[in-house]
Symmetry: C2
Subunit: 91 residues, 2 copies
């Protein structure tokens, strides 16, 4: 699945009930089960990261996944705010 990613931070709990920690490799996806792991690849630079789904969203057309700031940092798009990505299942 390919599309766009952005990053976000919350002081409150995520939809899974877990409190967000901006330094963990986590993400929000509309339908994947909480706890499942996904490999996200930045199509602009080829960098990839494995994130654990612990929240719901994004609720914007064309946006596939919303990442923690730490995950966005690994993919190199903290300052630009969004990136073209593809995601695939990870074990």
């Amino acid at each position: 699945q390919c599309g766009s990613a952005s990053w976000y931070a919350l002081s409150s709990k995520t939809a899974s009930g877990e409190r967000m920690n901006a330094s963990l490799m986590t993400a929000a996806h509309r339908s994947l089960p909480f706890g499942s792991k996904v490999k996200v690849t930045n199509q602009r630079n080829g960098k990839s990261v494995v994130v654990r789904i612990n929240d719901r969203g994004p609720f914007i057309k064309g946006r596939v996944i919303d990442l923690s700031k730490a995950a966005a940092s690994k993919l190199g798009f903290v300052s630009s705010g969004h990136a073209p990505i593809c995601i695939s299942k990870s074990s």
Copy 2:
């Protein structure tokens, strides 16, 4: 209006179309017009801040307003993540 506040950060655009800037005094409210200003007072320590509404939310029962990190910092609840607050109209 009294209830709970939390803080959040986005790399993407807010519902008003403005990009979020964590260092500005902004907030998300379910119904107040974009651009309106609201005084938010932390019931725990009496500190207050005036914020400009530029986003929609929060979509959690009992939560009245979601603030930028800078606004939460002024109210002294960045580390705790949430606070009991009251809001009132500001000019």
